[in-house]
Subunit: 187 residues, 2 copies
DNA sequence: TTGTTTACTTACTAATAAGTAAGTAATTTT
DNA sequence: AAAATTACTTACTTATTAGTAAGTAAACAA
């Protein structure tokens, strides 16, 4: 069984999340995997096909995590998400939305739709976690869950962007403060 | 007196803030201004020169606004900044940092330094406004001003990104909630 | 009036991009 | 054993890109 297809997607995701969709080429991938550009076209006829597949896979991963963690308390779910972003941060990767939404107007139509879907999936997930946390008494915040989810996701997205530019302390300082703002102290 | 130079910069800024640094070309600018590509190279020998000039001009504008509004109450300063982002939002533009930080690793070195400078300038400004607001009793928030400035700026940056993907309501909902969180009600 | 600078244009190069068509060796199916 | 499919490669086209060199018309300076 060939895993070339997945190797291509892994590398495409890395490139999107480090350099951006418009800044990577089939040549970048081919060079690392030691295959020819045309081999990538064999699996992904157009760059848009590759981009859509990468985003789609991410949407699937989100659905999986969401199912897996559904039973956990709200604040634990929140911390799991924060932890995932922290792992990205350590690798110097930004999140897919942080990379693709700035380029939104330059993306081919099928990618625009997938990116929109990805945004909605993440926000929906976060809203559910926040709602659960509010009900189970592990989180506290004012206003509607949807607005709060937008603010939390926006902090996570931006923290990766700003941390890469301004240095290491930024991610921790932002997320520490964010958690203090909405998490109920257990001390 | 020729204003070609400024026309080029205006257009470059628009293109960076709508399509991104890596997705616009000298041809895009030349086409609109009805000049030749080489005319742009006359003013800005390399694309990096153009990019640096655009970011540098923005840093100057921030310094100007900061001086102009220094005497205002903290919450009014904050609202002025929010208003500027709202104007961007109405035009469908994202902010320079929202456009350039995702592409950070692909930017030529002089641009990376300017982008870093721009981030620092905005954060510094926001921190000063928040500090003033806390002292003059118009704003209230927990934790350090620097952490709060990071969270506020991150919300502004992301609101433009997400609003363009998810639709109009997003900007207002995010910023309304953000202001409710830290502004002291005068009712 | 002559020389120089300003603000460009024309014409070009070299590099890189996505994408295609035809071929091929190995594996799998019939 | 023959046929078909899989997983590619070689070789190519077309388009776009940043950047350069040389020329030019008009304004300005000496």
């Amino acid at each position: 069984m060939s895993d070339t297809r997945e190797n291509i997607m892994d590398l495409a995701e890395e490139l999107i999340r480090t350099k951006g969709y418009n800044a990577f080429s089939y040549g970048d991938i081919a060079g690392v995997l030691k295959i020819r550009n045309a081999a990538i076209h064999y699996y992904f006829p157009s760059k848009a096909d590759l981009g859509v597949s990468v985003v789609d896979r991410e949407i699937g991963k989100i659905a999986d995590s969401r199912d897996e963690w559904r039973a956990l308390p709200g604040n634990v779910q929140l911390r799991k998400v924060v932890e995932q972003f922290y792992n990205s941060h350590r690798r110097g990767w930004i999140c897919l939305n942080g990379s693709l939404t700035p380029d939104f107007l330059t993306l081919p139509d099928p990618m625009q739709q997938k990116v929109r879907q990805l945004c909605e999936a993440i926000l929906d997930w976060m809203a559910e976690a926040l709602e659960k946390g509010r009900k189970d008494g592990t989180l506290a915040f004012e206003g509607e869950v949807e607005s709060r989810a937008l603010l939390v996701i926006s902090s996570l997205l931006s923290s990766l962007l700003l941390a890469r530019v301004l240095g290491k302390g930024v991610f921790t300082r932002m997320l520490d403060q964010l958690l203090k703002d909405i998490e109920i102290s257990t001390k």
